[in-house]
Amino acid sequence: MPTASNDNHGRSGRFASRPVPLRGSRETRERFIVLGLRLCASLAVVGLGLIIVFVFREGLPVLFDPATRQEASLHGFFSTPIWQPVSGVPKYGLLPLLLGTLKATLVAMTLATPLSVLAAVYTSEFAPPRAREIIKPAVELLAGVPSVVLGFFALVVLATWLHHALHVGTRLNALNAGVALGLAVIPTVFSVAEDALRAVPNSYREASLALGASRWQTAWNVTLPAAAAGVTAGILLGLARAVGETMIVLMASGNAAMVSGSVFDSVRTLSATIAAEMGEVVVGSPHYATLFFLGGMLFLITFVINTLAGLLVERMRRKLGTA
């Protein structure tokens, strides 16, 4: 620290080594530090901005570059139901990919939503403390399982089990991928929902119980409605995670881009398509631009869902804050 040769307020001489730093240098230093910290904080904004700019920049030729558009264009995306980017006449029909994403996500949410919400209600409203001490770390553990491991499990073990149990379709299909995806989504939905339920003031519960309502009536009619916004936010966050999740669907879905309504058929999702094809693609080619365009779509979809969830959380916080 710089020391002053002559300090302010005529206090020199009080310290043997006269340590009071000059106000000017001290304040300059503080100002630089604040500047540095502000830069750190801005990094999050810059990062998000760069993601938007660069993902869309590489995908824009699909909309604006004539050479690219001859092969891959917005019109082409929806005029054919076939996704066949590597062939004599490449076809970039998005329908099978969108449908695939939808199917896998639907299966995942059908599994994850009731399980997570019910488990969250149980944990926050009914569970004895000891059960809670098992459930919460267990869910955190599940959240800590890398998605590639869930994908591996679905590919190697779950697919075989489901195949033996159901005897339908192909081994790797939307159901298989969806179930594994559900496992990845459960921790998200559970934690957010449980947080929301716990944020409901105890006075609500006490008021209801004092009126003679039973615990489950209280949970169902008082606590859950009060936390509805937060629980919904959890479901939305889970949905965004399911749509964007890559490794699980890449490994467990079979990756056949087909248009079919059955969950027992193999599917190819948006995210898996990017992951599977980006490795072999020529930089700058229409295929490359199309994959980035898919990434941009994925970004937009999850961005909208997450923003919605954020608004809900905010609303719930405000509501309980004023209550």
């Binding site: 502000r38 999050a44 993601i51 660069f54």
Partner: protein, 325 residues
């Protein structure tokens, strides 16, 4: 309605009194309630059971594969034999680089947000908005970003500017680490802020009242006390970084390398990516299965130990927070 009630009605016609409450049969109410509770408990149980099945399966089939030889040697014979040392080495290098790039900025951002920024300023709001949304961006999009920005833009221009052959304009350890750092930025920011929030306000006041500057207060009072929380965030980000595959698939991870990376511009093998490779691209599924299970066990062990440490640290931090209120 019973008779006494109707008699009362007859006596005071102006205000017909309510009859006694005829609740639905308490028996059925109780049964629905019990059913609901059981159902909710069953849901919780199902989640735990599924986790147990997965972990059980992996441990049962995998633990035999994890030998000293397995973790200390390189793959052989087209990855159908040998170990996974290069993948372990690669993952560790990756997360170390990531932490170096991530933690100073993440902690700095959190300090700014919690200690300096006016909470209603546009920058603060923008940063918070960006942080929450960054946390929700799909990991594959981070991969695309790494490819488009770090490799195609920064790397290529760096090569051009320095007059190099393709050195930085291709997938590498550095770009993968930076991509993961951005992905984990919200984790560190949020946990550090939580840790700063846990430091009682009177600590700041005590320090400032002694004539410490704001930064001195942060540096000598707040950071030491927030350290466990910052460590928690760091560990969580490491655990997550070690398990992520999608962001590093095109930014640095290699299918197979006969050598270890010795510079940040080298590609590397990665545990998670190795799992993917072994599971989907193996020429001989049966032969690689033990290797695959072994790799999964090692990866899980790594992430779980890290997560466990983080959970313990966080529990201590929360306790301190609770003890204050």
């Amino acid at each position: 309605m019973n008779n006494t009630a109707s008699l009362l009605v007859a006596r005071s016609p102006a205000t017909p009194p309510l009859g006694p409450l005829s609740a639905g049969s308490p028996e059925s109410t109780r049964r629905v309630g019990a059913g609901f509770t059981v159902l909710a408990g069953f849901a919780a149980f199902t989640i735990i059971a599924m986790l147990a099945v997965i972990l059980g399966n992996i441990v049962i089939y995998g633990w035999r594969s994890v030998t000293w030889d397995f973790v200390s040697t390189a793959p052989r014979e087209g990855m159908t034999k040998g170990g996974i040392f290069p993948a372990i080495f690669g993952t560790v290098s990756l997360v170390v680089l990531m932490v170096v790039a991530l933690v100073p900025f993440g902690v700095g951002a959190a300090i700014y947000l919690h200690e300096y920024a006016r909470q209603d300023s546009w920058l603060t709001r923008l940063v918070r908005f960006a942080t929450t949304n960054l946390a929700g961006v799909p990991s594959i999009v981070f991969g695309l970003f790494g490819l488009g920005f770090f490799i195609q833009f920064v790397g290529r221009n760096l090569d051009r500017g320095l007059g190099l052959d393709v050195t930085w304009g291709r997938p590498s350890l550095l770009w993968a680490a930076l991509t993961l750092a951005l992905l984990n930025l919200p984790v560190v920011i949020v946990t550090t802020e939580e840790a700063l929030r846990a430091v009682p306000r009177h600590m700041r006041e005590a320090s400032l009242a002694l004539g410490a500057t704001r930064w001195q207060t942060v540096r000598h009072v707040l950071l030491p006390q927030a350290l466990p929380g910052i460590l928690t965030g760091t560990i969580l980000s490491v655990a997550r970084g070690a398990g992520e595959v999608a962001p590093i698939m095109f930014t640095g991870a290699a299918y197979f390398l006969p050598y270890l990376p010795h510079s940040p511009s080298d590609q590397f093998m990665d545990l998670g990516y190795h799992v993917y490779v072994l599971a989907t691209q193996s020429p001989d599924v049966e032969a690689t299965r033990p290797l695959l299970y072994g790799t999964v066990v090692v990866l899980l062990l790594l992430t779980f130990l890290l997560n466990f440490a983080a959970v313990l640290l966080r529990a201590r931090l929360r306790m301190r927070l609770a003890g204050r209120n």
